[in-house]
C-alpha cells in the first residue's frame, strides 16, 4: 500500500515517469539526469547548483567551522518533521554548536530501489524549506541508488560549512567550576516521538519531534555575551546525560543537576515512566546545552525564553569542583545519585 503523502506546499510536484526509484536512477545515465533535473535541481534551485559542476566554488573570509553528519532514521516521516528537515537542522545545529553561522551544506542521498518517488519529493521540499528558514544554501550533492534490501528507503549524508562568530570562543577547555548549564528547551521529545511511532504506541496527545534550527538562539547568546559563553553542545544521541558525562570527563570537573529542574513535558514524562526509560538518555534534535559564565546565566535564559524555539529554556545545573568526571543528580526527594554514561541503547524493562 502506498503512503498517503500530504503536501502543504504550493510548489507543483515534479513529473517523473516512474512512481518508484529504480536502479537506473543511480546509473548516471538519462534516468539520473531526469531525476536530478526535474526533481532535485528544480526544487533546490540556486546559483551554485545551477553551474551543474562536480563541486561548488565558495568564497568565505576568515575562520570557518566544518561538520558532517548522516541520517538513517526510521520512520522517515514522524510528527514534527521528516528525515529532510532533520538532516538540514542537524547539520546547521552542529555548526551552531561550534559557534558558527551556518552558510553552505552538501547533500548525499543513498536511495533504496523501490522508494516511493512522492516520498522523495516531499523530503526534498522539506529540505528546501528548512534550508530557506535557516538561511543556508545546498551547494553540492550526490545521489546513489542501492538494491532493494541493501538500504532503508533513504539515507542522507550532509556536510556543512559556517563562518565562526566574531565574538565567539567556544572551547570545552574553558569550562570551569562555577559555570552554569542552560538547556534551551524541554528534553526527550524527539526520541520518544520516534519510539512511539516505531512501536505503535499511542498517547492522548501526539508527541512531536523537537527538530529545529537552533542557530538563531546560539547567535543571539554569542552576540550578547561573547566569550562568557564557554561551550554549546546538542544532546542528540545518548541525550543530555551523555553530553554532560563527555564534558565532565573531558574537562575533569563535576556536574551537579537537580531532578526537579529537568524540563520534561508531561506526555513525554508519562511515556518514559511507562517504558522504563530515563529522559536524560533520550535523544533530542532541537535543543542545546550552553555552558556559560555563572554571572550571565539568568540573563541568558531570559534572552532564550524571549525567542522562538527557546521559550522553554531553563537552568539545568552547574559545573562544580567536587567529584571530577562525574555527573551527580539530586533526586526529587533529596537523595543523590550518579548519572553514568550508558553502555548502549536504553532497553525497555520487563516489568
Amino acid at each position: 500500500m502506498k503512503k498517503d503523502v500530504k503536501f502543504n506546499i504550493s510548489c507543483p510536484m515534479p513529473e517523473l515517469d516512474y512512481d518508484v526509484i529504480t536502479l537506473g536512477h543511480g546509473s548516471g545515465g538519462k534516468l539520473t539526469h531526469h531525476l536530478l533535473d526535474t526533481g532535485v535541481f528544480e526544487i533546490l534551485d540556486n546559483e551554485y547548483l545551477a553551474t551543474r559542476h562536480d563541486g561548488a566554488l565558495l568564497n568565505i573570509d576568515g575562520p570557518v567551522a566544518f561538520s558532517t553528519d548522516s541520517f538513517v532514521i526510521s520512520p522517515l516521516f514522524f510528527p514534527g518533521g521528516n528525515i529532510g528537515d532533520l538532516a538540514v537542522n542537524g547539520t546547521v545545529n552542529d555548526l551552531a554548536m561550534c559557534g558558527a553561522h551556518p552558510q553552505f551544506i552538501s547533500l548525499g542521498f543513498i536511495l533504496e530501489e523501490g522508494l516511493d518517488v512522492r516520498e522523495l519529493w516531499e523530503i526534498i521540499y522539506t529540505i528546501k524549506l528548512a534550508a530557506e528558514h535557516s538561511g543556508v544554501k545546498v551547494v553540492t550533492g550526490d545521489t546513489k541508488v542501492v538494491e532493494k534490501g541493501k538500504g532503508d528507503k533513504i539515507f542522507i549524508n550532509t556536510t556543512g560549512i559556517g563562518k565562526l562568530h566574531q565574538k565567539g570562543k567556544i572551547d570545552p577547555q574553558r569550562v570551569m567550576a562555577g559555570d552554569k548549564i542552560i538547556v534551551s528547551g524541554s528534553i526527550a521529545n524527539h526520541g520518544i516521538c520516534i519510539m512511539s511511532k516505531r512501536e505503535g504506541l499511542e498517547f492522548e496527545t501526539e508527541i512531536k519531534s523537537d527538530t529545529r534550527d537552533v542557530s538563531g538562539l546560539t547567535t543571539a547568546l554569542l552576540d550578547r555575551f561573547g566569550e562568557k559563553i564557554k561551550l554549546f553542545r546538542d544532546p542528540t544521541r545518548g541525550g543530555v546525560a551523555t553530553v554532560l558525562n563527555e564534558i565532565a570527563g573531558q574537562v575533569n570537573t563535576g556536574v551537579e543537576l537537580k531532578e526537579e529542574d529537568l524540563p520534561v513535558a508531561t506526555q513525554v514524562d508519562a511515556a518514559c515512566e511507562m517504558l522504563g526509560l530515563d529522559p536524560l538518555y533520550v535523544a533530542n534534535e532541537g535543543i542545546f546545552l550552553a555552558f556559560v559564565d555563572g554571572k550571565v546565566a539568568d540573563e541568558a535564559v531570559e534572552i532564550l525564553r524571549s525567542m522562538e524555539g527557546g521559550e522553554e529554556a531553563s537552568l539545568l545545573g552547574e559545573v562544580v569542583e567536587n567529584h571530577p568526571g562525574k555527573v551527580v543528580i539530586q533526586s526529587v526527594i533529596g537523595g543523590r545519585r550518579v548519572i553514568p554514561m550508558l553502555p548502549g541503547d536504553q532497553l525497555p524493562r520487563i516489568c
Binding site: 526527594i333 553502555p343 548502549g344 516489568c351
Partner: protein
C-alpha cells in the same frame, strides 16, 4: 505527574524518614524482594538517607538475573539455528549466554525483536504465517498473566506458528530458599508490590509464620518504600510477626482473580533452575498438557548448550542477599554493564547494575 508526584513528595519523604529514625532502636536487615524496588532505592538515593541501623539487602526479584544461562542459549539457538523470530522484552537482550547474548546473535543475523507485550509477538505470528514466532516468556508472577493470555488467544485464533519459551519463576519458593539458608541474616521482607497485585498476599502468611518474620507488601515509589520500611521496622521493634500491606491502593489480599485464573488455565507449577541459585523445587511455571503445542522447548529440538557461567561471578550470593555487589572483586573492574560477567550487571533491575549506574563510587552509596 498525577498518581506519581504524590509518592515522590519531599515533605512526605522527610516525615517518614524522621518517623523511621524515631522508631528504630537496633540494627535490622530488611530485604526488598523486587529488583524494581532495588532500582528505586538506589535511583532516588534512599539508601543514603536511611538511619545507619537499617541495612537494605537486595533480593532475587530481577527476572533477567535469575533466568538460567541455558534458557538464554536456547533462545539464541531458536533464532540463530532454527530460524524462528524470537520476540523478547528489551532487557533480556544484553544478558550473557554461554557464548553470546541475544544482542550479539541479532548482529549475526538472527531475527530478534524487542516487544512490549506478548500480544505483540502473537500479532507478529499472525502477520508472518510462514515463520515460527517464539516469545521468550521470562519473569515472575507479574508477567505470567499476559503471557498465558497470549497462548489462550493463539489457541482461540488458531495461530499455530506461535509458542513460548517459558522461564517463569515464583517469589515465595525463592524466599523460602533464602530463609532456610544457614547464612541468612534477614529480619524482615518488603514483598514485591506488582507480584502481589497479581497473586495477592495470602501465600505469605505461612512463610511469615514458619520463619517468624514480618513481611510488608510494598510499592515502588520513594514514599511507598519508606512507608514499607517504617511498617517493617515497627513490626520488628515490637517483635510482631505479621503480614501487612503498604501497597493497598493496588494490592488486594486475594490478588487479581481473573489474572490468576488465566495463569492456572495455561500454566502449572514445576521445578525451575534459577541462575546463580540453582534448582528450586516447584518454583516456576510450565505450560499445561493442554497447551503443549505452544511450548517452544517441546516444539523444537533444543539441546542444552554449554551452560557456561563465569566462575568469578558471585551473582548467586548477591541474589540471596549474602553479599553486596561492591563486595565482588570483579565489580566495576572486569564486570561492567558494557562487559557483564553475570546477569545482575545487565538489567536495570539487577542489584549490580543499580549500584554501578547510580552509585558510581562507594562514597555516594
Amino acid at each position: 505527574m498525577r498518581y506519581l508526584a504524590e509518592y515522590r513528595d519531599r515533605v512526605a519523604v522527610e516525615d517518614l524518614l524522621s518517623e523511621i529514625e524515631k522508631t528504630v532502636t537496633q540494627p535490622w536487615n530488611i530485604m526488598e524482594i523486587c529488583g524494581g524496588q532495588t532500582h528505586s532505592l538506589v535511583k532516588n538515593g534512599i539508601l543514603d538517607m536511611l538511619p545507619k541501623e537499617i541495612t537494605m539487602i537486595h533480593g532475587p526479584g530481577c527476572p533477567v538475573c535469575v533466568t538460567p544461562v541455558d534458557m538464554v542459549d536456547k533462545a539464541i539457538a531458536l533464532a540463530l539455528d532454527k530460524g524462528a523470530i524470537l520476540c523478547s522484552f528489551g532487557d533480556m537482550l544484553r544478558v550473557p549466554g554461554s557464548e553470546m547474548s541475544l544482542l550479539t546473535a541479532k548482529a549475526h543475523g538472527a531475527d530478534i525483536r524487542i516487544v512490549y507485550s506478548p500480544l505483540e509477538a502473537l500479532s507478529i505470528a499472525r502477520q508472518n504465517p510462514e515463520c515460527q514466532v517464539v516469545f521468550f516468556a521470562v519473569g515472575f508472577e507479574t508477567t505470567a498473566p499476559p503471557n498465558a493470555l497470549s497462548v489462550v488467544l493463539a489457541k482461540k485464533q488458531g495461530v499455530s506458528n506461535y509458542s513460548l519459551l517459558v522461564s517463569h519463576v515464583l517469589v515465595p519458593p525463592a524466599m523460602e530458599v533464602i530463609l532456610s539458608d544457614e547464612e541468612n541474616r534477614i529480619d524482615g521482607f518488603l514483598a514485591a508490590g506488582h507480584v502481589c497485585t497479581v497473586m495477592g498476599y495470602e501465600e505469605y502468611y505461612p512463610l511469615s509464620e514458619k520463619y517468624g518474620i514480618p513481611i510488608v507488601v510494598t510499592g515502588f515509589e520513594p514514599v511507598d518504600l519508606l512507608q514499607g520500611i517504617l511498617m517493617a521496622v515497627k513490626l520488628l521493634e515490637e517483635s510482631k510477626v505479621e503480614v501487612e500491606n503498604q501497597y493497598a491502593r493496588v494490592v488486594r489480599r486475594k490478588g487479581n482473580i481473573h489474572a490468576i485464573q488465566t495463569i492456572r488455565e495455561v500454566f502449572e507449577i514445576a521445578d525451575r533452575t534459577w541462575r546463580g541459585i540453582g534448582k528450586i523445587p516447584m518454583s516456576g511455571y510450565e505450560l499445561r498438557l493442554a497447551y503443549q503445542e505452544y511450548d517452544a522447548s517441546k516444539k523444537f529440538e533444543l539441546i542444552s548448550g554449554k551452560n557456561k557461567e563465569c566462575e568469578s561471578c558471585i551473582a548467586g550470593q548477591v541474589l540471596k542477599g549474602l553479599k553486596k555487589p561492591v563486595e565482588c572483586p570483579e565489580f566495576g573492574k572486569a564486570c561492567t554493564p558494557e562487559n557483564p560477567l553475570g546477569a545482575p550487571m545487565v538489567s536495570s533491575e539487577g542489584a549490580c547494575a543499580a549500584y554501578y549506574q547510580y552509585a558510581g563510587d562507594s562514597e555516594l552509596i
